[in-house]
């Protein structure tokens, strides 16, 4: 059996298969259909979907819900991420597992509501105060919208933090043909919560980066959560050593498993002088271009990134070895190119293939550079 579905529906199915039982969001093109589907489905499954007064409330409601035992997701686009900003920090600080979907559209500001872009790719990482590492996954097919949503929930639960899906207008709203069985395989893992006999603790005193199991309001422990700097018991503190322990913990959470988080597809070719790097929607055109180039007898390597942040530095460094030209294909002015440039060796030429007119980069546009 095959289906005709778009990325937003695949994301919803990935979320539901992951055990998501709570959604709060605010309508915004091109993320709205996630809100619509969740509002249709969750109430009939014993969950809750709430359309909030704005995006600030959507994030706040999700954070409150997770701390009371829900498994939550929210979805928006660039202008909504702008409003999520302060609560992204809150979710990081309170170690709230949460999946945040950004269906990217053209910016800045209201930009182009129905126009594709990949221009939030740095914003998502640096979009809240404090400068702490985020996890951002970018699906390059509709099937990956499903699988990466499952992965995002698993990582969010494991690391007790928000995890982003960076999709885009074309990915989420273009219907494509996929095999039904590529929309299966996510198992909803039960949340690891604090055993009843264990005392509540906010974060580990001695193992930075290894989150303490979540305890819920209404559960066996009395739970204390704060968006302000806090100690292991959850009390607001100005104690320098306690604050340092917390901040090192939040920093280490992502950084200690950075290499495990790398998720890429590397398609090398012997003696290839050109490497094409892409993520998200541009992968389609890159795949078509690589096929065409190879058919024409050219040697081209391709690296597709599914984990955008943290930057998959091992995979990038490996793929960069030996090539002369690196093409970074993205629908912005070259935001991710800088991450490649800092890893490239002297003499390697890093070239951007970019488009900011709301149209997709075509295979032909890439072939011109190969």
């Amino acid at each position: 059996m095959r289906e005709l579905i778009d990325g937003n529906e695949a994301i919803v199915r990935g979320a539901l298969d992951s055990g998501c039982d709570f959604f709060a969001g605010y309508p915004i093109t091109p993320a709205t259909s996630i809100l619509l589907l969740m509002s249709q489905l969750l109430p009939t499954m014993g969950g809750v979907a709430l359309q909030t007064e704005d995006e600030i409330a959507a994030m706040g409601v999700c954070i409150g819900a997770v701390l009371s035992g829900a498994r939550a997701m929210t979805a928006t686009s660039g202008p909504g991420i702008s409003l999520y900003s302060e609560n992204i920090g809150a979710a990081l600080m309170c170690e709230v597992p949460l999946v945040i979907v950004d269906c990217q559209r053209m910016g800045p500001a209201t930009g182009g509501a129905t126009t594709v872009a990949q221009s939030d790719i740095q914003f998502l990482q640096w979009g809240t105060s404090g400068g702490y590492p985020q996890i951002i996954l970018s699906p390059s097919t509709v099937a990956e919208c499903y699988t990466l949503t499952g992965k995002a929930f698993a990582l969010a639960e494991k690391l007790r933090m928000p995890v982003f899906i960076a999709a885009d207008k074309e990915m989420v709203s273009t219907r494509v043909t996929i095999a039904s069985d590529s929309l299966t395989g996510i198992t909803s893992l039960s949340r690891e919560t604090l055993p009843p006999e264990e005392p509540f603790q906010s974060f580990p005193a001695h193992q930075p980066g290894q989150p303490y199991p979540l305890a819920h309001f209404g559960g066996p422990q009395l739970v204390r959560v704060s968006t302000s700097s806090h100690d292991e018991e959850g009390y607001l503190t100005k104690d320098a050593r306690a604050m340092e322990r917390l901040n090192n913990h939040l920093w280490a959470k992502v950084n200690r498993i950075k290499s495990e988080l790398e998720d890429v597809s590397w398609d090398p070719q012997n003696e290839a002088e050109v490497l094409i790097i892409s993520y998200g929607i541009t992968v389609q055109a890159v795949t078509a271009a690589v096929n065409a180039a190879r058919k024409a007898g050219k040697q081209v390597a391709s690296l597709v990134l599914r984990s955008i942040w943290p930057v998959p530095e091992n995979a990038l460094s490996t793929a960069l070895l030996g090539v002369q030209r690196i093409l970074v294909v993205e629908l912005n002015h070259g935001q991710y190119r800088r991450e490649v440039e800092r890893l490239a060796a002297p003499g390697q030429q890093v070239v951007g293939i970019n488009r900011v007119d709301g149209r997709l980069i075509t295979p032909e546009q890439i072939l011109e550079q190969v």
Binding site: R2, V12, I63, L67, E170, G218, S228
Partner: protein, 437 residues
């Protein structure tokens, strides 16, 4: 002997507030109310906002959440929606009512069953006594040194007029405060107490405010004191569950559903098709039907739509790629078939015409101007299809009638699967076979 004789942590006392500050009184009265109610501390969450009142959660032996400025009501809403058994009590200042006023109004409107205690001392005490939304006109603050020119927000009326379940205004030193807090916690719906008090560090000395002047101020402003509203509107978190319980596990809770290939197709290379019309012509759904027909014929398809933000007016364009193998690139560089249904559609796609070749085809409403292109042009007498909403599908049938890369049977099967009352659409597909002029 009470099971819970105290909800304040004696080891952490005394409270950190300035001498004479109303915050200490309110915290004590909240403790008294909780002692009277004997709520299980595990089922109570004290949610604090930013400001001096935000220091209070620390002292309670219940669950506690301290969050961002103004957003306390949103966190509390999420907690209650996820677990309606919880007693969620928000402590916020008048500052929080300013930055989070929007959330306050909407929580009242929703009648979410949380309790909001406003520690209202008419200024931002923690940051040095700046003007707030509740500062009376004429009052001196560190940002209104020559007197406040703005009118104070009537917090109670604001939430009351929007449907809050229980609303009262009181003064921190009032004898009945603990009882009032108890009533607001037990009210099954959104409850707000606007509790007026003295900021002894800033507002009171700046404005010669004392207990008796506090009472006069309420009267001077024409504000009501005491219980302002009490209603029995259904509480949201329970209403949500009651409303949706009967719908549990209805067929709606399943989405998706695959299509099996059962028709033959004659297609050896990808075909790129653009359908260009106007809002109301059901361009997108017709394109989706064609895409489904492709799947029913063992082909692959991708379909994307383009329209202005006003979906019911202006152009409506759908792009399809239909391919014998996987569609790698769903964007369109040049269509093989361009279907033009209206002037809006022509305006949007006119640029393509110059790129079309002799191998390409244009199907166009015969009421539209003659187009200049190297492609083969077929004029369609679409006016014969009276309903505009049927024209997209009829035009698709015309295309397939000309070159049957997907069979008309597959198209009809797709129509029957996708549209509940498919009769007129099936008829339009049949008529479409005879529209080429």
């Amino acid at each position: 002997m009470l099971e819970f004789p105290n909800y304040l942590n004696e080891n952490l006392l005394p409270l950190p507030f300035c001498p004479g500050c109303g915050h200490s009184i309110i915290v004590d009265r909240l403790n008294e109310a909780l002692i009277q109610l004997q709520l299980d501390p595990h089922q109570v969450v004290i949610v604090t906002d930013i400001g001096c009142s935000g220091l209070a959660d620390k002292f309670f032996t219940t669950n506690a959440f301290h969050g961002l400025h103004g957003r306390s009501v949103t966190y509390a809403t999420g907690m209650k929606m996820a677990n309606p058994d919880l007693h969620v009590i928000v402590l916020m200042g008048d500052g929080g009512c300013g930055i989070g006023g929007h959330h306050l109004i909407n929580a009242a409107r929703r009648n979410i069953g949380i309790t909001v205690l406003v520690f209202n001392n008419f200024n931002y005490g923690m940051t040095g006594g700046q003007v707030s939304v509740s500062t009376p006109s004429g009052a001196i603050t560190s940002t209104t040194r020559y007197g406040n020119l703005e009118q104070p927000l009537d917090i109670c009326q604001t939430v009351a007029v929007n449907g809050a379940g229980f609303v009262a205004r009181t003064i921190a030193s009032d004898d009945g405060l603990a009882d009032l807090i108890r009533t607001s916690i037990t009210h099954d719906g959104f409850a707000l107490l606007d509790i007026w008090e003295l900021c002894t560090a800033h507002f009171a000395p700046q404005n010669q405010l004392n207990q008796s002047r506090l009472e006069e101020t309420i009267a001077d402003l024409g504000f009501t004191r005491g219980i302002i509203q009490r209603n029995n509107r259904p509480e949201l978190s329970w209403a949500y569950r009651q409303t949706h319980a009967p719908n549990r596990h209805t067929p709606q809770s399943r989405i998706g559903g695959g299509l099996k290939a059962k028709f033959r197709a004659e297609l050896h290379a990808p075909k790129r098709i653009i359908i260009a019309g106007s809002a109301g012509m059901r361009v997108g759904s017709a394109a989706q039907i064609l895409a489904s027909a492709a799947l029913l014929s063992g082909l692959s398809a991708s379909q994307r739509s383009e329209y202005p933000v006003t979906v019911r007016s202006g152009f409506s364009i759908s792009e399809l790629v239909i391919s014998p193998g996987e569609v790698l690139f769903s964007g369109i560089t040049k269509p093989d078939i361009l279907i033009v249904l209206s002037q809006d559609g022509l305006t949007q796609t006119a640029n393509w015409l110059q790129f079309l070749t002799e191998d390409d085809q244009v199907f166009i409403d015969d009421q539209l101007p003659i187009v200049e292109t190297r492609a083969e042009v077929y004029q369609l007498s679409l006016r014969n299809i009276r309903r505009k909403s049927l024209r997209s599908l009829a035009a698709i049938a015309s295309v397939l009638g000309n070159e049957e890369f997907i069979s008309i049977e597959a198209l009809k099967e797709a129509i029957s699967l996708q549209i509940e009352k498919s009769g007129p659409f099936l008829k339009a597909a049949e008529q479409g076979l005879h529209l080429v002029v």
